[in-house]
Symmetry: C2
Subunit: 341 residues, 2 copies
DNA sequence: CTTCCGCTTGACAGCGCTTTCAGAAGCGTC
DNA sequence: GACGCTTCTGAAAGCGCTGTCAAGCGGAAG
C-alpha cells in the first residue's frame, strides 16, 4: 500500500503552492489556464483524491447530512432513504445513516454519533426519543423531521395527515356497504399509530358504524403481528366483513392468515392497509391502501435540508395522503357471516 | 448557536493539558483518578463531543466502513445493509452507504466518494463495475465483496452458489412431476443472473426435461418485469405447469399476472423465486424459494472486514443456499394445459 | 516613465485532535 | 540522602486542507 498522496505532493509535483491546488480543487479563485492544466494533469496522474476529513476540519463543514432512521431494512424506511438519497443528489452533501430501531436509547446513541461526525444537518425519521433530545440537537444543526411532530419545531416537520387517510379508508368501506369493520392498530408508543387508531374510531362514528372493542386488535406494524391479530379475529367466527390494518405490512400478515383459513379477499372480507409500499401493488389481490409517497417525503426532506443549509427558511407543506383503491376491497357480502360463537 | 466546544476548552476548564484530555478520551495512557474525574466532569458539563474528523485526520483512521450497495430501498439490499449494520455494532466502526444503482459510472463515483472520505475498509454488494476498478480500490483499503466474485480477490468474496440453488428448485419441480417449466431470467449484465440462468439450463438437462426457448424470458429483477414476462408467457396459451423466477421480486410480479388471468397457484401453475426475501413468507400463497440469508451474509461481510482491519487474514466460507418449500409449488396438474395457439 | 489598479500567487496560521519526547514527580533501594 | 526506575504529564509538532494576507506582476492611465 503506497503512501496516500496529498495536496502537498500535487503542489510540489506541479511546481505551485498548495494554496493554488486548493483553489483549483474548489474553484475558489481564478488560476491561469496553464497552471490549472498542469495541476489537473498531476492530479490525474497521481490519482489524487482530496481528504474530506481534512477539508471538513479546515472549513468547518463536513458535507454530510445525518439521517436517523429506525430500521434500514424496513420497506417503509428503505424507500424514504432512497428518496433522501435522491434529494441530496447533485448537491455536495451526502447522507450518513444510522438506525435507532424504535429504541430511545439507541436513538440517542445514534444522535451522539452523528454529532460526533459533525454532520451539517439532520433528518429524523420517526422514532420514540423524547422531543427534548431532538430540540437539543436542533440547537446545534438544522433539523428536519419526517412523520413526527417535534414540539417547538413544527415548522420543520414533514407530516402526513394520518386521520384523514384512515377516514378515507373507512368511508370507502362504508360506501361499499360494510358495517362490521375490524381494525388492527400499531403500538401506542408510536405517534402515527395512535393517530391512525383515533382516526379510525372517529371515522367509524362519523359514518354511523358501531365500534366494537372485540374487533380492535393491536399489532406492532410487523407482518407477523398482523397475522396473529387476524388469527385472533378469525377465531371469533369472523363477525366482520372488512379488516382495516394500520399499515401495509400488517395487512400482508393479515392476508396470509385469511388465506390459511380459506377466507377470500375481497369476496368474503375486504382488506386495507396504509403506506402504499411499493410491493402492495403486487399482493394478491393488489391492496387497497393509503398512499404516503414515502419516497417523495424523503426527497422533500432532503431538499428542505439543503434549503436550510443555504440559509433559506423553507416552509413545510403538510402532506395529504391519498386513498388508492385496488382489488382487495369490494362490496360487503350480501349475507355477512355473522359471529359464530 | 453556541461555538462548538473543543478538547482545548475542556483542557483549560479542567486545568490540564489537551494531551491529558485526549488520553482520557481514548484510554491511551494512565491518568491519575482525580484528574480523570475532573476532566470527565467538565466533559459532561460542557457536553463535549470529540470531533471525529479531527481524530481521523490526526491518527489516520476514519472508523468508517464504506458500503457500495446498489439500491438502498430494495428489500434484498436493505436486509443486507441491516446485517452489515449489526455486524459492525459494538465495534467503533460505522457504515457509510452509497448506492450505485447497477450503473458502472455511478458505482465509480460512489467509490470515489468513499475514498475521498477515507473509509478504512470497503464492502461491495453486487454491482456491474469492472473488476479492475475494484482491484484498484482494494490496493488502498481492505475490501470484501458480497454476491460477486472479483478476479484476484476471490478469497475476499462472500459468494452463494446460484447454480446449486436453482438446481434444487428444478429438481423439486421435477419430483412433483412438472415437465414444462418456464423461466424468467435477470439481466445478462448481472453476474448472478447469468449463473441462475445457466444453472436452470443445466438442471433442466440433468433432470431430463426439455429446454424450450419460448418458455425462457428475460426480466430485470423488478416486480414489473416479472409481471410483463409472465403476461407474455401466458399469451402463449400457458404451455407450462411451473414458472421459475430468477428472484423473488419477479416472482411477485408473476404472481400478479397469474392472478389477473385467473390462474391458480399452485393448482394450475407452480411458482418459485430466489432470495427468500422476508416478505416472501407472506405472499399468497407463501412462496417456494431459495433462501439466501441475506442478513447473515451482510453480518458475515462486516465481521470479515473487522477481522481484516484487526490484521487477521480470515477465510471465506462459500455460502450454500437452501431450498425453502412453501405453498406456491405443488404436483403438476394431471392434464397439463397444452399450448393453445 | 511613473503610478495605480486588478489579478494571480505563495506564505502562513489555523481547524481539533493525537502522539512523541522529554521533563517532573514519586517511589524504592543502597 | 543520592541514585535509578517507573509513572504521569505538558509542550510541541504534525495530520491534510482552507482562507487570509500581502507581495508580485502586467497593463492601463496619467
Amino acid at each position: 500500500m503506497s503512501v496516500t498522496v496529498t495536496l502537498m505532493h500535487v503542489a510540489r509535483e506541479a511546481g505551485v503552492s498548495p494554496s493554488t491546488v486548493s483553489r483549483i480543487l474548489n474553484g475558489t479563485a481564478n488560476v491561469t489556464p496553464d497552471k490549472r492544466e498542469r495541476v489537473e494533469a498531476v492530479i490525474h496522474r497521481l490519482n489524487f483524491t482530496p481528504n474530506v476529513q481534512a477539508q471538513a476540519l479546515a472549513n468547518g463543514r463536513s458535507f454530510s447530512v445525518g439521517v436517523l432512521t429506525q430500521n434500514i431494512s424496513s420497506p417503509f424506511y428503505g424507500e424514504t432513504l432512497a428518496g433522501i438519497e435522491r434529494g441530496l443528489e447533485g448537491s455536495s452533501y451526502h447522507p450518513l445513516v444510522v438506525s435507532g430501531h424504535w429504541h430511545a436509547e439507541q436513538e440517542q446513541q445514534a444522535l451522539d454519533l452523528l454529532m460526533r461526525r459533525r454532520v451539517d444537518a439532520l433528518i429524523v425519521l420517526g422514532g420514540v426519543i423524547e422531543d427534548a433530545a431532538l430540540q437539543n440537537v436542533a440547537a446545534r444543526v438544522p433539523l428536519v423531521a419526517v412523520g413526527r411532530d417535534v414540539g417547538g419545531l413544527s415548522e420543520r416537520c414533514v407530516l402526513i395527515d394520518n386521520r384523514a387517510g384512515i377516514r378515507d379508508v373507512v368511508r370507502h368501506l362504508a360506501e361499499l356497504g360494510h358495517r362490521d369493520v375490524a381494525f388492527i392498530a400499531g403500538l401506542e408508543s408510536q405517534h402515527d399509530a395512535v393517530e391512525r387508531r383515533e382516526g379510525f374510531e372517529a371515522a367509524m362514528q362519523e359514518c354511523g358504524l358501531a365500534l366494537r372493542s372485540e374487533l380492535m386488535r393491536a399489532g406492532d406494524y410487523t407482518e407477523g403481528s398482523g397475522e396473529r391479530a387476524t388469527e385472533e379475529l378469525l377465531s371469533l367466527g369472523r363477525p366482520f366483513t372488512a379488516l382495516v390494518c394500520a399499515n401495509d405490512q400488517m395487512a400482508l400478515g393479515a392476508r396470509l392468515a385469511l388465506y390459511r383459513r380459506g377466507v377470500r379477499v375481497p369476496q368474503d372480507v375486504s382488506l386495507t392497509g396504509f403506506d402504499d409500499l411499493f410491493s402492495s401493488r403486487y399482493t394478491t389481490p393488489p391492496l387497497t391502501t393509503v398512499h404516503q409517497a414515502v419516497n417523495e417525503l424523503g426527497e422533500l426532506a432532503a431538499q428542505t435540508v439543503l434549503r436550510l443549509l443555504a440559509g433559506e427558511q423553507p416552509r413545510m407543506i403538510p402532506y395529504i395522503p391519498r386513498l388508492i383503491v385496488r382489488e382487495s376491497t369490494g362490496p360487503a357480502p350480501l349475507s355477512p357471516a355473522t359471529g359464530g360463537h
